[in-house]
């Protein structure tokens, strides 16, 4: 094969390689930009912050542990669990669980649960810990607070569904 024949062969291979690289880039871009932004973890964290602000200020409980319940938590903490009318959602895309514990300073441990509040779709909570992309996002955080002089621990769990709009 003379030099010109070799050059043509090389340029054909060049274009084959170029095409394969381009196809790879196009595939990655489609996969990356085709997938929705998953904001559920931020959403769950923000919800915990809002509930914590609603319960306590300056490290002290605003109201006694018995003040909040399933009936008034949404209105007192200015929350609204209604969601957009899509994907057969029926305002069932959120769950919040709050547990109050007393704290034994001497032993440095939680004691019994003083109060529990569960709100929203508890099925979402049941799916926490499941493996896979199409599962709800669960975030749990706790903080110390004083009720009078008694130390308390409040554990808040927030679960956000909205799988169809955040996972693909």
């Amino acid at each position: 094969m003379d030099k010109r024949g070799t050059d043509k062969l090389i340029s054909v291979y060049w274009f084959v390689i170029l095409f394969l690289v381009a196809a790879g880039i196009v595939y990655m871009v489609i996969v990356f930009y085709g997938a929705p932004y998953d904001v559920r973890e931020s959403e769950a964290n923000i919800m915990i912050n809002q509930i914590a602000d609603c319960f306590a200020a300056g490290g002290k409980l605003k109201n006694s542990v018995n003040y909040f319940n399933e009936l008034n938590l949404l209105s007192e903490c200015k929350l609204n669990f209604n969601v957009e009318d899509t994907n057969k959602w029926k305002n069932d895309q959120f769950y919040v669980g709050v547990n109050y514990y007393s704290f034994e300073k001497d032993k440095g441990v939680f004691s019994d649960i003083l109060r529990t509040i569960n709100l929203g779709n508890s099925l979402l909570n049941d799916n926490c810990g499941l493996e896979g992309k199409y599962t709800p996002v669960c975030v749990e955080r706790s903080f110390y607070v004083l009720e009078g002089d008694s130390p308390r621990i409040i554990k808040i769990k927030s679960v956000v569904g909205k799988v169809e709009k955040n996972a693909q």
Binding site: D7, S11, F15, L18, A22, I25, V26, V29, I30, Y33, P36, Y37, V39, S42, E43, I46, M47, N49, Q50, L74, S75, K78, L79, N80, F81, N82, V83, E84, T86, Q93, F94, K165
Partner: protein
């Protein structure tokens, strides 16, 4: 004479080769840029961003959000300034094209004033107590 013709052939082949490469790369770049700045992608991004901002906001806050690319797209597509971001109940909808729009709900039960561009770059989000 023959040597000169061969030389010009090689030059032409090289030019065609380079031009084809450039055309190929240009198409690839155009595709990437179109996907990155795609109105549908922007709608989703802005809707979720605004929903998160409202969720984390407290009453009386006034927030300015950079939506330069979105505002530009919407105006080019004939969407009115007041139609770019709309709030109905607790759902925010961002619309940057005629046949489009993306909605996302927020859980913070506050009153949000009309969201509109204050210039070519920013939109104003004003949160009030409900």
């Amino acid at each position: 004479m023959i040597k000169g013709k061969r030389g010009s052939n090689i030059l032409t082949e090289n030019i065609i080769f380079i031009v084809l490469n450039l055309v190929f790369l240009a198409i690839l770049m155009a595709f990437l840029i179109s996907r990155m700045g795609n109105a549908a992608v922007l709608e989703e991004k802005y809707a979720k961003q605004i929903a998160m901002i409202i969720d984390a906001a407290k009453p009386e806050m006034e927030i300015y959000l950079d939506m330069e690319n979105g505002i530009k797209d919407a105006r080019e597509n004939g969407i009115s300034d007041l139609g770019i971001v709309t709030i109905q109940n607790n759902v925010v909808t961002v619309k940057l094209r005629d046949k489009g729009g993306y909605s996302y709900s927020f859980f913070n039960d506050v009153d949000v004033e009309n969201i509109y561009p204050i210039d070519n770059k920013n939109v104003r989000i004003k949160i009030n107590k409900k």
